[in-house]
Amino acid sequence: MDSRRNLAYPCHVPSLHALANPARFLAIARPLTPVLFWAGVALLLFGCWAGLTQTPPDYLQKESVRILYIHVPTAWLGMGGWSGIAVSSLVFLVWRHPLAMIAARAIALPGATFAAICLATGSIWGRPTWGTWWQWDGRLTSMLLLFFVYLGFIALVRAEDERAGFGGGGRIAALYGVAGSVLLPIIRYSVVWWNTLHQGQSIGLTKSTIDPAILWPLWFTLSGFTLFFAGIVLMRMRTILARSKAEARLRRRAHHVEVTA
């Protein structure tokens, strides 16, 4: 445990590995961050403009269908974010890769935010179409659970930080990250397994039941939100790396003072 004090990045791996990898990561992440972020914002703005002005209304829902250009990407990224946390947690648990847990903690907050936006836009959409803000049906309830699971992950990471120093732990949060992935198929198939108020799957791998005239701006907002999300995650990873470096330096200095005193 004491050896961790001498590492710039606090992980249970050979120090060379720990130092080399974040450095290589930063060399790529630093120029990539603004590219992802601004490309995402541009695609997003174009998709929103197209979705608000360039597409016909739905035959049944009229203009309210346009909220799908926000609702669907945030739902996918809310779930995609947790897939990222689950994969990173697994990589951290098995290979002890120093960047994996940093990636998982970086994803947690934007993932939770996107899940919350998905729930909020769904609620706003539900009022004019279904006639209700909220119902405890399978899809809505499982998505709300995912949001709470995100909050649990964030709380666990913080608790481990308090116990083991910033970035020092992560084992319990990683186990939780892997276990939480059982929610993903439940959300995906909730509309198939159970009678729900939410309609079935519109967009599959090969075909879509949304008419192309209405569908096309979704690809812009979806790719835009995804790049935006990736840009935010890279920013947060760099912040976490910088902070754990600073805290390790502080610890080293404290150790030095202790020894020389």
Partner: protein
């Protein structure tokens, strides 16, 4: 290497155990987690009397009658297996209409009819411009 393989095996086992147990829990939940009863469910099992339930299905074509007072209506909910007559007094959502999905909240009467206290409109997963809807859109059932 040895330790890494051990952790990989443990992680795979843990994932399989968590996945298997949640699959078991979900299959046990199957009926309880349904949002509404379909008319076919009620026909197959006993009427869920004396408690608030939801009934979901399609509003049968030609079955919707609005009373003279403007807020009372009667219609038939069907899932292709069975039909349940429904009485409702109140304001229905905009998307509520014949040959469209509905989820009614209320209670069953002993004679098999249903008295609704609230209506929710259920639409399907198809979205299209208005001019295309007439020629190719036909909703068959929204009940799995």
């Amino acid at each position: 290497m040895k330790a890494k393989h051990q952790r990989l095996t443990l992680a795979a086992l843990a994932v399989a155990a968590v996945g298997g147990s949640s699959a078991l829990a979900l299959s046990a939940l199957k009926d309880q987690a349904a949002f509404f009863y379909a008319p076919g469910d009620v026909k197959r099992d006993a009427l869920p009397l004396g408690r608030a339930v939801r009934l979901g299905g399609m509003v049968a074509g030609g079955s919707l009658h609005r009373m003279a007072d403007g807020v009372t209506m009667q219609f038939v909910v069907t899932d292709g297996v069975a039909r349940v007559p429904v009485a409702f007094r109140g304001i229905a959502p905009d998307l509520f209409k014949e040959n469209s999905g509905v989820v009614a909240e209320g209670k069953f009467n002993p004679d098999g009819s249903f008295t609704a206290s609230n209506l929710l409109a259920k639409h399907d997963e198809k979205y299209m411009p208005p001019e295309m809807a007439g020629k190719m859109h036909e909703t068959k059932t929204l009940v799995q």
